[in-house]
Every structure is written in structure tokens, then in C-alpha cells.
Amino acid sequence: MFSTGFKYFFGVTVLSVVALVMSVALFKNLALIGVAITFLIAAGALLTGLAIITSDGTTRDANVQTSDMTTQSLWPLVTGIGTVFLALGLVTSSIVFFGGVVVLLAALSEWMIQAWSERASSDASHNAEARKRLLNPIEFPVLAALGLGVVIFAFSRIMLTVDKSTGAVLFIVVGTLVLVAGTLFAIKPNMKRSVGAAICALGAIGIIAGGVASAVSGEREELALAAEEGHFTHKECGPEESEYFDKLKEETLSLRSAVSATIIYQDGELIAKIQGLNKPQKSITVPRSNATNIIFRNATEGEFRLVVDLGKPKTEDKDSDHDVDCTQLIETGGEQSLTLKIPKSSSADNHYKLFIAGAEDKQIIVVVP
């Protein structure tokens, strides 16, 4: 009367109800967990109903005496390993603990399905097929994602180690090899599977080995130096010009799509162009406590720097200096972004301002409402 499918989904539903009850007892904030488990219960109940209505999920030969023969299994061993990681994680780090949880859950699931499938009928090949139908749709994508993740991570290590031009060449070479291999597989569909597997394995092992070697030797010098000194973000508002200036960063889509205003120094005048307003402005409005990007464009002959006067860090401290931030010296036709984050509102007698270094009368008022 009760099909295997019914039992399975009924079990999932009952376990979900148990999980919900335990969550209510254990967690204070159920906002997301509660919604997720409730949906799981609803889906389980629906599938249980469908399974009983359609009698679906019954394996062939279900009523035939099942085989007592079982195959060898790795899953008890993997379950043990997962348990060890879980216990180790409790005294070391949460990453090891959650890794153990994942291994344990995966091994128990595999073990459970294998145990079920081996007793599904007296036909061993049918049992193996039943196991494949149930688990392969999960196993293959997960293993593929893990494998790809490892290869991509290894490749990223290589790209961080080699210099920029070598990286570009390497990218082209690897891309070409992938294309060649793909073309080979397409035009030789009868190629032995072992040959295809060997090609893929060689490629993956090569990249992983390169990644390990790169990780051991460390990132290229300029990146290591940048991480150490933070000089890509370093700014000097004095007369000197900084040595480092990441111009490529200025071209990123994320920055270009988030510009609140463009400040232009043109014909000896400083003006602001704001999306949606047709006329040039002499003031810009910046939401307080929010990172706001502006772009400074120098359209005047010579090198100029845009400076923002952020007022006194503490208004009650009358003797303190004003906080300032600035772009680098920008050549004619050049641009640089500046990110403003101003926590305090401006008032009628305390406005913030943008100005050109050395020409303080060229100003744009910054209003923080």
C-alpha cells in the first residue's frame, strides 16, 4: 500500500517537523530558519500526497524477496572521518567543525541510500541503477563544482604570482588549450573515454600543481607591497605627487556606475555636473554617513588637485584642524574619483566644500542634509 516514494517523503516531512520543533526550542530568532523549514514541510507533505495518489516511487520487484548480499562500502570509513573532524573542530576552529558536519551528512546520506538500494530487489544491477538514479543527479553537479572550484582557485594563485604580461599570455595559452581540447572532443565523438579523461586529468593536475607552487612562492612583488603598504589608496594632499596611482581602478564599471557628481575644472571655473540636472551646479548634495563617489576631471591646462574640506572632526573643538581629503595631481584631460563619507549634517554656517589646491576661491559647496 505504501510505496517507497511515499515512505521517503513522509520521512522527510516528519524529520522537518522535528527540526522545526527543535529550532523553536533552541533558537531565539527563527526568521529565516522557520521559513525555510516550513517550506520544506509543505514541499514534503505535497510530495507525500502525490506519491500516495500516483503510487509513484515503487521500485520494480518490490514484492520479490530481496537479496541479502551487500557490497563493500567506503561510507562507514568516511562517516568515521567526518566524526573525527567534527570532534576536532569543536576544540580547534569552526571551519573544521562545519567541514566535519558536511562530510558526516554526505557520508550518512550516501550510506543510507546505498543500504536501501541494496535491498530494493533481488536484482543487483537494478539495485545499482536505482541508487544511480537517486544520487547521480546530486553527486555529479556537487563533484563537478568542487573540482572546478579547486582548478579555478589554483589558476587564480598562478595569476597572482606571475607578472601582468605573463599572466595575459598564460591566460591566452590556457584558453587556447581548453578550446583545442573541446574541439577535439567534438570532432572525435568516438574517442576512447579513457583518452578524454586522461587529457582532462592532465590539464587539471597541471593547473593544480602550478597553483600549489604559486601559493608557496607567494604573490608578485607589487601586490605583496601593495598589501603591505596600502599605497593604492594612499593620498597626499600636499604639493608632492604620489608614486602609485591605480588608474585602472578608475575605469571599473562598479565605480563608473555609481558616480553621484562629476566635478570639472574648466576655463578657470569649478562646476558640478549631476545626472538629471541639465545646468552646471555650484553645490552638490551628499547623503550623510554614506560613501558617495564623485569624479574630478581636469579640463584646464596644467596639473591640478581637487581637495575636499570636511570641517573639524569635532565641532566643539574650536582649535582642531579641518579634515581634508584629495585627489592626486591630475594632468589635463585626466580624471580621478574621490569617495566622500561625511557623518555629520552641514549647517548654514558650517558647509563642507570642494576646491582646487592652490586656488581656494574655486569652490563647490557640499551640502549634507
Partner: protein, 396 residues
């Protein structure tokens, strides 16, 4: 079993029909009130009809197949693979339908993305769980100094308004169904959304990107006023701060405000006893770095992220139910003492986290660096609440 199934289908269909019969549905996407929303409506009506018909056909086919061929112990039928003519037909027909839909959809998307005909801009900043509106200087609308407000977006009718959206904390999404589609407000980005209303009225909206505990309470209302009424609203928003009458309850409330509320809430023009401007410091107390500016609070009809009405139900119904030619005047009347929703405002001041779920428990602040997300419990006495209500009523 069949009887049970039929009953279930009847109950399901009946519930769907009953759910579609709401008469008071201010966020109904099928009632556009502006050209941008109409553009979307003109697209979604035929697409919905086509999709609905296809959906019914597919559902009927699946239901028929499930019932007709359910397992009765019969042998598994012959398994076949590949019917090129059928497969090509079933691929080409949906592709053609989608291609036709795509042509009209892309046309609508490009029209909705236009910004070069903008007549007015308003900066919109989202944070947990309210919206801030600031109006940069725009002399042609009489805005000679920036205006800042929250909860209700006030705009002139027949004007192409461009919202420049961003967020201070997490991703939110701005949606006034009667005036246009949705646009995400993303930290670090400026996204634009066109709004235009055909006639005066109040149009309800809702944050549509899950943004935390009180996402459901992050509401907004767009108030469209005639150009004359909008000019009056602008003039009122730019009016200077009015100091409460000496020795009045409101003046005592101002002192309470300076001691308690100004840590986060700004009131433009409010001065401290030593004559310096009272500048709020929400960045030191609130995770998003901002709290609603309460200047001219009583010119709005809502508070706490538009989750609650400042107007009593009777007065609110009068404003919302007013015909379009008088809704502006009703709205501009603001909140008087007689119309104030004292119950909710006092309850809010008494214990805000009890009114609206927020991360405002001092014991749970470690995840936000010790800063509140939402208004905390301030332990105000009833006496202080009386004074504060009297003071807030002066912020016209």
C-alpha cells in the same frame, strides 16, 4: 481519493478567486496612475494573458498525464527517444513567443531608463527600515536650500521626477506600484528610477528586497501634489525653525529632545542652550549612520518608516479618500493636535522596539559593533512623553 482531490482543487481555486477580490488594495499593480506605470501595464496585460493561457494548457496536460498514466501495476510502456519534428516545434513556438515579448519588453525598458528629459531630481536613500528623501537645490521649483524628509515622497504632478537611489546599509528596493516598477537601492551605487503622477493623490509602496527583520514594515508613500500645492509644501519645508513659546509644555519638550533625541535625530535650526546648532550624531549610535530628520515632522502623515500613521484613522481616511482636486489641501493641512494619532506616537516613544521589530536590544548589539538598528527603548517617563508630544506638534 478522487473525491478528496476534487475537493482540494475546489478549495484551492476558491481561495485564489477570493484572494483576488480585495477592494482596498493601494498597491495594486494593475491600476497605473502615471505614464511609467502605464507603460509597464500595457506590456504586462498581454504578456500575462499569453502566459496565463500557456500555463493553463501546461497545467492541464501535466494533470491529465499524472492521473491518466499513474502506476496501477501495469508494465512499463516501450521507451522511445527522439522525435525531431515534435521537439523542434516545441522549441520554436516558445522561442517565437519569447522573441515577440522581448521586442516589446526591450522597448519598454529603454523608455523607462531615459533620464535626459528629467525635470526634477530627488535623492532617495534606504536604510533599515525607512527611506530618506533629500531634494537638492532646484531654483525652478523654489528649492533654494536642500530639503530633507522621510517616509513620504512629495512630488509635483505632471513632472518627470528622477529618483537617485542608494542605500546606507543593505540592499533595499523602491517600489510605488501605481507610478513605476521596482529599482534596487544598493550601497555604493546610484540607481535611477523615473516617477510621474498624472493627478494629485497618495500612492502606497513597499520595500521589495528582503532587508532584515522589519523589511515588511519598511513602507513608503508618494504624495503627488498640484504644482501650486507643491510650491506651498516647498515653502513650508524651507521655513525657519520656530522656537516653542516660552514656559510652554512644548518648550520643556524641546529640552527633552535636546537631551535624548538629538543624539540621532536632526531638527534643522534647533539650537543648544549655548547658542550652537544642535547637530545630530547618528553615525555614533546607529548602524546605518542615519536617523530620520524630524524637521517639519507634522507636515508628514506617517512616522517610523511609514509603518505608522501620524494621523488618526478618521483624519487619515479623510486625506486618503479625498478627491484629487482637494487632496493637496487636505495633505498640506498637516497634523493638528485634534488629528494626531496620539496612541501610536506615544506607544512608539514609550517603547519603539515593541512596536516594530528592530535590532535594538542592548544585549544583541555585538553583531552591529554596538550600534542600534532602529530606535532603541529610551526609558522615557510619561511626563517626558507628554512634553515630547507637545514639542513634536510644533514641528509643522
Amino acid at each position: 481519493m478522487h473525491k478528496t482531490l476534487k475537493s482540494a482543487v475546489v478549495v484551492f481555486v476558491g481561495s485564489l478567486v477570493a484572494a483576488s477580490c480585495a477592494t482596498n488594495a493601494p498597491q495594486d499593480t494593475w491600476q497605473p496612475k502615471g505614464p511609467n506605470a502605464k507603460l509597464i501595464d500595457d506590456l504586462q496585460q498581454p504578456v500575462f494573458a499569453v502566459a496565463g493561457i500557456i500555463g493553463l494548457i501546461v497545467a492541464a496536460a501535466v494533470t491529465y498525464t499524472v492521473i491518466k498514466y499513474r502506476d496501477r501495476g501495469q508494465p512499463i510502456p516501450e521507451q522511445t527517444h527522439g522525435k525531431p519534428a515534435l521537439e523542434i516545434t516545441l522549441t520554436v513556438i516558445p522561442a517565437l513567443i519569447l522573441a515577440v515579448v522581448a521586442v516589446f519588453t526591450f522597448g519598454a525598458i529603454f523608455k523607462l531608463a531615459k533620464t535626459d528629459d528629467t525635470e526634477m531630481i530627488i535623492n532617495v536613500t534606504g536604510q533599515q527600515w525607512w527611506w530618506e528623501y533629500d531634494y537638492p537645490v532646484q531654483n525652478e521649483f523654489g528649492i533654494t536650500s536642500p530639503i530633507i524628509s522621510s517616509g513620504q515622497l512629495v512630488m509635483p504632478v505632471g513632472t518627470k521626477v528622477l529618483l537617485r537611489e542608494t542605500s546606507r546599509d543593505v540592499i533595499h528596493s523602491y517600489w510605488i506600484p501605481a507610478l513605476n516598477g521596482k529599482r534596487d537601492a544598493v550601497p555604493g551605487r546610484v540607481q535611477t528610477l523615473r516617477l510621474e503622477a498624472d493627478e494629485p493623490g497618495i500612492y502606497a509602496g513597499q520595500c521589495t528586497e528582503f532587508c532584515g527583520l522589519s523589511h515588511a514594515n519598511m513602507r513608503m508613500e508618494a504624495v503627488a501634489l498640484s504644482k501650486e500645492d507643491f510650491a506651498k509644501w516647498v515653502a513650508n519645508q524651507q521655513a525657519p525653525y520656530v522656537v516653542p513659546a516660552k514656559d510652554s509644555l512644548a518648550q520643556q519638550g524641546e529640552t527633552v529632545f535636546l537631551n535624548q533625541c538629538v543624539r540621532c535625530h536632526q531638527v534643522n535650526g534647533l539650537m543648544r542652550a549655548d547658542g550652537t546648532p544642535a547637530i545630530a550624531a547618528p553615525d555614533e549610535n546607529v548602524w546605518s549612520g542615519a536617523a530620520p530628520n524630524l524637521s517639519h515632522l507634522m507636515s508628514r502623515n506617517t512616522f517610523a518608516g511609514a509603518a505608522f500613521d501620524l494621523l488618526s484613522k478618521k483624519c487619515r481616511d479623510e486625506v486618503w479618500g479625498a478627491p484629487s482636486n482637494v487632496v493637496g489641501a487636505k495633505y498640506l493641512a498637516g497634523v493638528t493636535e485634534d488629528c494626531l494619532n496620539q496612541k501610536d506616537l506615544r506607544a512608539w516613544l514609550r517603547n519603539a522596539p515593541e512596536m516594530k521589530p528592530m535590532y535594538a536590544n542592548p544585549a544583541d548589539l555585538e553583531i552591529s559593533n554596538g550600534k542600534y538598528r532602529g530606535m532603541p527603548y529610551l526609558a522615557l517617563s510619561e511626563d517626558d512623553i507628554n512634553k515630547l508630544v507637545a514639542y513634536l506638534l510644533t514641528l509643522k
